[in-house]
């Protein structure tokens, strides 16, 4: 059973305090170390020559003209660099017999997606490199391209195009979970058969469109080979993983590589990759013995930084006639793109445990077929697998409610895990430690004015208003805080999921925290300072947080999967506690008391029952001097801890969305968005609000606006922000957010991850609302993004509005000929 606490109000404690982010001034003003701001003496610049074709044999590369261009130092191809370029690794072969194409950063024989690098130009300035890149002539022999996901999945049987012909198939892996086989639940086929004869069967196919992470700072890398080590600065989320991958695939000893992620401007998963461009820069710098820089253009970023989502979901939900779910069967097709990215094949698997969501389903089966195509590779994007799962189940629960004639909230409550049932082992085999779906839902309903809005909806329907109102619900949960290493091992993942922290007590009373998590906009420096200040009783301002440099934070597994606080924060707490325990005997010695008689509070050790005491910062000074320490005592309070989580972490929440749909045009307008998330104990409410607001917009954008579209030639049509509709503040409304608090029982802070929650929850809330607005007009689904045209067509035909299939012209193209 989980106790639900009242949210803490105003407090003088650091935990729960609205601290403004200490890193923001430098991040917002840009007066900081973005990778592209780094300039080294003698540094050369790279420009990439990229394939315009999705699939082609390279029959010749003429680099002579480019080599002769002004200030060009070298032009190198895949053949020139050979094995020195290393390979891009797949760290998560999801099945032992996974089909994994070799991924050279710069192939020399064949290109597999439009945008793949075929040559690199090195020049004294970035502009000269770019100019010369246009002079490289590449001869291609086009090959049939595997573009459509469904066609690609069966191409080995139908004779269709194969993304990598030597592999003979586009199917990379089939990964399956069955609750009957796993012993976590019943037989889903039996549940379906029973529902077919005497119950409710909901069968749907949903599309998860392809998305582009579209982080603010384009990727950039600087490699300096001129010291004792090769130093790599990269706009990456994963400096530690990048160092490992570079060492493992190039033969350069790991100890000879230093990777620094300086300030990094966003990632959303899009920067957890080991990229071809990083590997090419590394190889070129080593070859030439000079520092080099590569910064991608926005166009290159949209085209080649890994994309996200891109699934077809075939779903079968079995239920009794009154709405109790008896089984769920999920059959996915997942588009990997041209290569199996670092965790690309694992993204659908991360979703596998979440389709059952907050519900008690007796039987569950999941299968994903991971498919290679000749498009940009896909990998983690904010939520990675869980948004897809949450969308599917939350859409289905609305459909079930319609089928049984009940309110969608009522159907959810009939099926969800009651708060007194925690900890609860799900049909997917996870143990949810805490939660209270009743409390979050009650609060959200109250904030939303659910009953009043339902009444307004009924009135508008009765009046036949041109603008109809729809209400959408999403009662989500997710698994985050990646991850228990044993679980990762059982899933065949190539690394563990622990995190590391160090605490350095400086002689002047200041404190340095080192974390292996790697911030790229989340606010680690502020939140971790608050934790340290709270635990040690030192001023917030006296704590410095160091991260993102393998030479300073030598151990770490970086930032993704909402793990920094729940895993890295716990490591920090343990390191802080070690500092206190190391200080205790020193305090006892200096205070001439027994260690057992000391208590530590507010940054001071005091002798119980006296006013005698000493601040931990004074002890730090005394330890530095080391003049008067207990015999045999090491003169250091510095401590470290490596923490391997015992479980995932399960934030949840109830999101309610109201939209107005203009039935004349199909335009969808957000009317109200309310959410009550339970993310356990909140360290900094201001940061949490930022995460929730940003996450909501990103999820709403999938529902309404964003889609990466390829035409029949394999060209990314939505290759600029003119055609890839990234929303801004002007497109959103003010969100109303609140929290209930069921502390996590698996970390000592009681926290849960919040980095992905808003994105995971909001997409189905919005689509459910859009469908709800026009359901009485015969509509039961609208394909994402719910464009005005699709909504309009759905209303006219009572269908889903169709998928984006037409080839379409980008707004910017070569016919552009305006004079002024």
């Amino acid at each position: 059973m989980t106790a639900t606490q009242e949210p803490t109000g105003a407090t003088t404690s650091e935990i729960g305090r609205d601290r403004r982010r200490k890193e923001d001034q430098r991040l917002i003003t840009g007066r900081t170390r973005w990778t592209d701001n780094i300039t080294l003496p003698g540094m050369l610049h790279l420009a990439m020559v990229r394939s315009p074709f999705p699939h082609a044999r390279i029959t010749g590369i003429d680099t002579e003209a480019a080599k002769g261009a002004t200030n060009v130092v070298a032009v190198l191809t895949g053949a020139d660099l050979g094995e020195a370029q290393g390979v891009c690794i797949n760290a998560w072969p999801v099945v032992p017999d996974q089909v994994t194409p070799a991924h050279l950063p710069m192939p020399s024989d064949r290109v597999s997606f439009a945008g793949e690098v075929v040559a690199v130009v090195v020049a004294r300035t970035a502009a000269e490199a770019r100019d010369a890149a246009e002079l490289v002539e590449v001869d291609y022999e086009e090959l049939p391209a595997a573009l459509d996901l469904k066609d690609a999945a069966t191409a080995h049987e139908t004779g269709g195009a194969i993304a990598h012909p030597d592999l003979g198939t586009n199917v990379s892996a089939v990964w399956r979970f069955d609750s009957g086989e796993a012993g976590t639940g019943g037989d889903v086929e039996q549940a379906i058969a029973e529902a077919r004869s005497n119950g409710i069967l909901i069968e749907r196919e949903y599309r998860q469109q392809r998305l582009i992470p579209a982080f603010m700072e384009p990727r950039s890398v600087v490699v300096d080979p001129t010291g004792e080590q090769i130093t790599v600065w990269s706009a990456t989320q994963v400096p530690h993983i990048l160092r490992f991958a570079m060492a493992a695939t190039t033969g350069v000893p790991e100890s000879k590589i230093r990777v620094i992620a300086p300030d990094v401007g966003g990632g959303f998963g899009g920067k957890l990759q080991q990229t071809p461009e990083e590997m090419i820069a590394f190889a070129v710098a080593r070859r030439l013995g000079k520092p080099v820089k590569f910064t991608e253009t926005r166009s290159e970023s949209l085209l080649t930084a890994h994309h996200g989502r891109d699934q077809w979901q075939r779903l079968t939900l079995a239920a009794t006639k009154d709405g109790h779910v008896t089984g769920l069967k999920v059959d996915l097709l997942a588009d990997l793109g041209a290569y199996v990215a670092i965790v690309g094949g694992g993204v659908p698997v991360l979703g596998a445990f979440m389709f059952n969501a907050i519900y008690k389903f007796p039987a569950y089966q999941f299968q994903t077929t991971n498919v290679l195509t000749n498009k940009t590779w896909t990998d983690a994007y904010r939520g990675a697998g869980r948004p897809e799962a949450t969308f599917a189940i939350e859409r289905l629960m609305d459909e079930l409610a319609v089928a049984v004639g009940k309110d969608p909230l009522e159907v959810r409550e009939m099926n969800w895990i009651k708060h007194e049932e925690f900890p609860f082992t799900t049909v997917a085999g996870l143990q949810y430690d805490s939660g209270n779906y009743e409390a979050a839902t009650a609060r959200a309903k109250e904030m939303f004015g659910y009953d009043e809005l339902r009444a307004e909806q009924a009135e508008r329907r009765a009046n036949g208003d041109k603008v109809q109102l729809g209400l959408g619900i999403s009662t989500f949960t997710e698994m985050c805080g990646l991850a228990p290493s044993r679980v990762l091992g059982s899933l065949n993942y190539g690394a563990g999921g622990w995190e590391h922290a160090e605490v350095r007590m400086l002689p002047t009373g200041k404190v340095e925290i080192v974390t292996g998590a790697s911030a790229h906009g989340q606010g680690h420096e502020t939140a971790f300072s608050q934790i340290a200040a709270d635990r040690l009783g030192v001023p917030f301002e006296d704590v410095e947080v160091l991260h993102g440099d393998t030479q300073i934070s030598h151990k770490g597994l970086d930032t993704y999967g909402s793990r920094s606080l729940v895993v890295g924060g716990e490591a920090l707490v343990r390191a802080l506690d070690k500092v206190i325990e190391k200080a205790r005997p020193v305090a006892a010695h200096l205070l001439e008391a027994s260690a057992d008689d000391l208590e530590f509070s507010g940054g001071r050790f005091t002798v119980k029952g006296t006013d005698q005491g000493m601040a931990i910062t004074e002890i730090a000074t005394a330890v530095f001097a080391a003049h008067n320490l207990p015999d045999g005592m090491e003169p250091s309070l510095d401590s470290e801890a490596t923490y391997d989580p015992v479980n995932f972490n399960y934030p949840h929440g109830t999101h309610l969305c109201a939209v107005e749909v203009d039935t004349e045009t199909g335009q969808v307008k957000l009317r109200k968005y309310v959410c009550c998330d339970d993310i356990g104990v909140v360290i900094n409410p201001l940061i949490v609000s930022g995460q929730v607001h940003g996450g909501l917009v990103q999820g709403i954008a999938q529902a309404l606006w964003e889609e990466a579209v390829y035409d029949d030639n394999g060209t990314l049509v939505s290759g600029s922000f003119v055609d890839y509709l990234l929303p801004t503040a002007a497109d959103t409304i003010s969100f109303e957010i609140d929290h209930t608090t069921s502390p996590s029982t698996t970390n000592s802070l009681g926290t849960k991850g919040v980095g992905e929650a808003g994105t995971i929850a909001s997409t189905p809330a919005v689509v459910n609302a859009v469908v709800d607005a026009v359901r009485h007009l015969g509509v039961s689904d609208i394909t994402m993004p719910c464009t005005p045209e699709r909504v309009w067509r759905a209303i006219r035909s009572g269908s889903s509005g169709g998928a984006t299939t037409e080839a379409a012209m980008p707004h910017f193209d070569e016919t552009e000929g305006g004079v002024q």
Partner: protein, 285 residues
């Protein structure tokens, strides 16, 4: 996002600009506010050898009253045109359209003449300029000539301006007292219009005496909704009366199909937006 290298010249008079244009011909591009040209150059979709900047030609800036019409200098920024009291009084439709044009940054850099000469059928100024019956003044080696709006827009990104000419001024007939509205349909705020309708009406009591309607992104050029205009004359400004006329708005148009909508959807939008724009212009919404 680095453009190919180009030579740059910034003349201070139209004559100097014309001379530069004559000298470099096909190798030159004229830059006004740069809000369309710079992205094209940065994406290397075009690589002129010369860029001739009109930004220092002061005579091309400003709005003046010329009796029966306003003269808007080609290099006047969108912001300045939009804020101009003469434009508000005599060409309200242009003021209304400019409030929907791109964002504040673009409106402070982009120019009225530059946008029109760029002739993007999704641009927000073509339809109002056309609807108001504007005249375009272009200057070339042989002097100036006037081009009617109906002849100015030739095709996608193509106008009646010759390679050796420069657009210097747009003359907009006065429409004092006419109501106006610009209905722009977008999915997100900073998007080009999927369709937009520029409508301005002269009311006599509760009746629409005269209507002028321009359509944005309903073909390769801005177009007039002539059938709807004619049907609106003498119609009471009611929902029903206007709707019947607005249903003709897409007649004769040939809109594009792209990611944001097929042609048939755009035709439908044009009728809905025309009804709304006309009613708004008539003060009925």
């Amino acid at each position: 996002m680095i453009p190919a290298a180009f030579e740059y010249v910034a003349p201070t008079s139209v004559e100097e600009a014309l001379a530069a244009l004559a000298e470099h011909g096909d190798d030159a591009k004229i830059i006004a506010g740069g809000q369309s040209l710079l992205p094209v150059l940065r994406m290397r979709l075009n690589a002129p050898e010369w860029v001739i900047d009109l930004g220092r030609i002061e005579s091309l800036r400003g709005v003046s009253d010329r009796g029966d019409h306003l003269a808007i200098g080609a290099m006047t920024t969108h912001h300045d045109v939009g804020q101009d009291p003469l434009v508000h009084e005599h060409a309200l439709l242009i003021s209304k359209a400019i409030t929907h044009l791109a964002d504040a940054q673009v409106r402070h850099r982009g120019t009225f003449g530059g946008a029109l000469a760029h002739a993007d059928p999704a641009g927000d100024l073509g339809a109002p300029a056309l609807a108001l019956g504007s005249t375009f003044v272009v200057q070339g080696p042989g002097g100036t000539r006037e081009v009617a709006a109906s002849d100015f827009f030739v095709d996608l990104f193509e106008t009646a301006i010759s390679d050796d000419e420069i657009l210097t001024e747009v003359r907009v007939p006065k429409h004092a007292g006419w109501g106006a509205a610009y209905e722009k349909f977008v999915r997100i705020a900073h998007q080009w219009p999927i369709v937009a309708v520029a409508a301005t009406v002269r009311m006599e009591g509760d009746t629409i005496a005269e209507a002028r309607i321009g359509l944005t992104n309903m073909g390769s050029t801005p177009v007039r909704a002539e059938a709807a205009e004619q049907a609106l004359a003498g119609v009471p400004a009611t929902e029903e009366g206007v709707a019947a006329a607005a249903a003709l708005a897409a007649d004769g148009t040939n809109p594009p199909s792209d990611l944001n909508g097929d042609a048939d959807y755009r035709r439908h939008l044009a009728t809905v937006l025309t009804r709304r724009a006309v009613l708004a212009a008539a003060g009925r919404s």
